[in-house]
Every structure is written in structure tokens, then in C-alpha cells.
């Protein structure tokens, strides 16, 4: 018989990893809880740092600050455009890198990894040097868009290529055997199957863009994005509405992620129909498909 103490000790040892993991999850979510909590705060002064009292006021008037709204709209427009451009361009690059053997693969790969291995402050500073010295671009929305597309491309390539690497090429061969042109094959077979990857990449690009502060801070001129607004407001006190809008963005992203996961499951189902049917051939010809 084990003593009670030894039992407790054994339980603790068996579950130690899970306990630590639970603590880390708590740690990861703590600031989000604080942001949510302080979106209901009713601060007495301009500073939203200490808890005063509970109010729905700021949720009811989330969009009551014109400057903040303007910054948010700028950020959304910027993120949308940067996402569309970087997703198209990045997906093309991923297709080239996974599907083709060609001269110049190594430097192309290198060119894609390097921006991810460069600190943002260096990228921001380099772009600002460039814009200052060539003088063709005036700092503002245009230069922000250039910068955001630049740092999103690499991430899009990485996400899409990971989807392409696990791709079952025989599905495409089947389409070609059935007389589809290469364009039809791409549109009707390849694209739907890699769509979850592309969608995931687009979401990542959007998140990176809408959240970017460092590079934007260097290249924004007088244009104000959502993070730049927060940075500017930090000195004179951040309005509670910032927390409210941050939480609204949070819930939207969660919803989009849920949608992406659902889509991915669907695509996986689509692609997994084949091997199961194959296994069924000869055993139960004509039996209804299991999935």
C-alpha cells in the first residue's frame, strides 16, 4: 500500500508537465484578460492603468473618437491591400519553389528567408534610408503599403509551401488523364486543395500588417495607423475605446480562424476520399463511400 503522501507525489510527478502547461496557458492569456477587463473600466483621469469601476459606456460608444476611427480605417485598408498583393505574389513564389526545378532556386530561397531573419528596426531603417535618398516616394500610405507587402511576402511563401509539400500530385494527374487542360486542372483541382493554405497565409499577412508598429513608425510620414495611434496616445493617456476596438478585432480574428480551421478540415476530407476508396476496391466494390 502506498501512503497518501506518496500517492500525491506520484500524481504530481505524472501531471507535472500538464500543470506547468496550464500555468503557461494562463500566462499567455493573462494580458488578453487584462485588456478585456480594462475595456470595461471607468477611469477617472485620462490614464487607463488602474481599475476604477465597471461600465459599458465605452463598448456602447466604441467608435466615438474620430481620430481613432480614421487610424483604424487606414489600418484596415492598408492590411487588406497588403494582404491581397502579398498573398498573390507569395503564392506564385511558393508554387515555383515547390513545383519546379530551376536554376536560381537557392538564391530565391535565400531571398525569402533573409527578411524573416532581419530585425524589424533594421528593415524599417533601411526602407526609410531608401525613401529619403531616392526621393521619388513621399512618406505616407504608399510607402506603408510597399513596406507591408515586403515583410508579408516571406510569411505567405512559407505557409503556402508547407501546404504544397504535402500535396498529392496524383490528383492532378487524374484530372489531366480525364482531359482537363493545365489551367483547368489548376483552377478545379490544385487551387481548391491548397485554398486553406492560401487562406491561412492571407490571415497571417493581414494579422502581421494590421499589427505592425516598428516598420510603420519609420515609413508612415504623417499617416496614422491603429498601432501608431496607440503609440501616440500612450504619452497622453490611451482612451478606453482602444481596448474595446482591440477586443473587437480579437473576436473577429478568432471567428476568422474558426472558419479557416473548418475549411481546412473540409479540404482534408476532400483529399482523403481517394485512398479510402482505393482501399475499398476489391474488398467491397460498389459499397457506399464511408465518408
Amino acid at each position: 500500500m502506498e501512503s497518501r503522501g506518496a500517492q500525491a507525489w506520484r500524481w504530481l510527478r505524472e501531471h507535472a508537465v500538464n500543470i506547468v502547461a496550464a500555468l503557461v496557458v494562463f500566462y499567455l492569456l493573462l494580458p488578453i484578460a487584462v485588456i478585456l477587463l480594462f475595456s470595461f473600466n471607468d477611469p477617472s483621469g485620462r490614464y487607463n492603468y488602474t481599475w476604477v469601476g465597471f461600465t459599458f459606456e465605452h463598448w456602447a460608444h466604441a467608435f466615438s473618437r474620430p481620430e481613432l476611427n480614421e487610424a483604424l480605417v487606414t489600418s484596415l485598408k492598408l492590411a487588406l491591400l497588403a494582404t491581397v498583393i502579398s498573398t498573390i505574389v507569395g503564392t506564385m513564389m511558393a508554387l515555383a519553389l515547390v513545383r519546379h526545378q530551376f536554376f536560381g532556386r537557392r538564391p530565391a530561397n535565400f531571398l525569402i528567408v533573409i527578411p524573416m531573419a532581419t530585425p524589424e528596426v533594421v528593415m524599417g531603417a533601411a526602407l526609410l534610408s531608401f525613401f529619403l535618398l531616392i526621393g521619388t516616394f513621399s512618406l505616407g500610405f504608399e510607402t506603408l503599403l510597399i513596406a507591408h507587402v515586403m515583410f508579408c511576402i516571406s510569411f505567405v511563401v512559407v505557409v503556402v509551401r508547407s501546404r504544397l509539400i504535402g500535396f498529392d500530385r496524383s490528383l492532378e494527374e487524374a484530372a489531366r488523364d480525364l482531359g482537363a487542360s493545365s489551367f483547368q486542372t489548376f483552377r478545379l483541382v490544385t487551387l481548391p486543395l491548397i485554398m486553406p493554405g492560401i487562406f491561412g497565409a492571407a490571415m497571417l499577412a493581414f494579422a502581421l500588417s494590421i499589427d505592425d508598429f516598428v516598420i510603420s513608425n519609420f515609413n508612415s510620414g504623417t499617416t496614422v495607423t491603429f498601432p501608431l495611434y496607440i503609440f501616440g496616445a500612450a504619452q497622453r493617456g490611451i482612451p478606453v475605446e482602444v481596448n474595446v476596438i482591440a477586443m473587437i478585432l480579437f473576436f473577429f480574428t478568432v471567428a476568422a480562424m474558426g472558419f479557416a480551421t473548418w475549411q481546412q478540415r473540409r479540404a482534408e476530407k476532400m483529399a482523403s476520399v481517394r485512398p479510402e476508396q482505393e482501399a475499398g476496391i476489391g474488398v467491397a466494390v460498389g459499397a457506399p463511400a464511408a465518408t
Binding site: 519546379h100 530585425p119 528596426v121 526602407l127 513608425n217
Partner: protein, 285 residues
Amino acid sequence: MSSLRRRLSPYFLLGPGTIWLIVFFVVPLYFMAKLSLESGAVGSLEFDWNWSNYSEALSEYDTQFVRSFVYAGAATLLALVIAYPLAYAIAFKAGRWRNVMLFAVVAPFFTTYLIRTIAWETILSDESPVTEFLHAVGLAPSGHILATSWAVIAGLTYNFLPFMILPIYASLERIDVRLIEAGKDLYASAAQTFLRVTLPLSAPGVVAGTLLTFIPAAGDYVNAQFLGGAGNRMIGNVIQSLYLSQADYPSAAALSFVLMALIMIAVVIYIRFAGSEALMGEDTV
């Protein structure tokens, strides 16, 4: 004709992205290099191979350089210690909780970086329960955490933690469980199995996570700005203020270059050590 099209199509696919990255990433680095060797004030900058920008910037800001690497190193180490158990739990123990836990890992990314950091300002402020608790157990003897090195390191650790967790999780998840079982069958203790089977097999994830945490942490200035005091400025803060407030472009460019060069050296050593697949997935190069 068709084979020519096949041979050219990768270049067509690569073209737009490559041009974008060359024009707006590589070329700007060239311009920054040029700027770092110029002398004079704004408006009358002249290129004259002025290497003293480098020596002057380095001797003036060596403390911030060392501090950046120490902070980033400490944050990376802490992140590794925190991330590994969670990644391990998600990969081997979470069961049906796996997706919930993965969600918790990426959830911080869904809120704005600056607001997250400002939330830590609230959490670590003198009146907060967290600070009071740490004070009570003797971990914060002065009763202050904000405006100390620890606050900055804590902020860096938190903000880049997901970059450590995800690659470690990815490499743990790929491990063939039979290898771990084989270790046990051959009478290795749990600790031995972990040290000689699991840990080495997860090394690529650890290396990738270390890089992905260290690189942005070393260049960061947001955490030092919000959580640190005047004595906690990092090299990123210096570069930012030289560029944007003091308009001392040559020094700022020189510092950016040194920062980038040091980080590149670290990356190259790491890639030599671990293979590039750690960063880019199996099929690279």
C-alpha cells in the same frame, strides 16, 4: 514551345515577388550602407567613405548593444524553459485539449502588440496584485518591477514566446512515438528516454524557436520603451530615436548595419549547426 514555356514558368511565377523583395529589401540595404558612410548634416550629406560613423556609433552606444544582446539572450532562454513543457504537453498529453491549447498559443497575436505590452505595464505596475505577490515572496525586494531590466526581459519573453512554442511543438509532433517506446523497451528510464531520444529529435524545433525569438527580441524597442526606464534602453531605441527624432541618419544607419551583421553571423552559425530545414521546412535548398 511547350518545353520552353515549362522552363520559363518558374521565373514568371517568381518574378513579381523577387522584384518586390529586391527593390524594397535588398536595394534599401544598399542605400542604408551608403548612408552609413556619409558625413555632414541633413540636407548636405555627402558620401566620403566615412568609416568613423561606425567606430563613433559603436563606442558611444556599446552599452545599449551589449544590453540588447543580454536582454534578448535572457528572454530567449526564459522562453525556451517556459515553451518546452507546454509544447511537450500539447504534442503528447493534451488529447482533445490540443486545439484549445494551440489556440491559447496564438491568441496573443490576435491582439495588437502595443496593447499587449501596455497590458503588461498594468500587470507589472506597483499597485498590481502580481507585483505585490512577487514582493511578498521576495522576488521583487524593492516593490517595483516596472522600469527595471526584469520588466523588459519579461515583456520580451512574453511577446516572442509563441515563436518559441510553435516550432518546438512542430518538431515534437513529428516524432515517431515508436522511437520513444523503443527507448522504454530497452530499459531506459523516463529521464534517459527524454534526454537521449525526445530532446535530440526536437533539436531542430529548439534551434528554429531560438532564432525566431532571439532575432526580433534583439532588435525590439517597444518593450524597453513601455516597460523599461531610462537605464534600460536597447539598441533599437537608439536607432529609432537617431532616425526619427535626432535625424542623425549616418550613425543610425551604421548602428542598424552592425546590428544586422551581428544577427546574420549568429544565424549563419546556427544554420551551419542545425541545417536550414529548421527554419524553412524540409524541402529547402
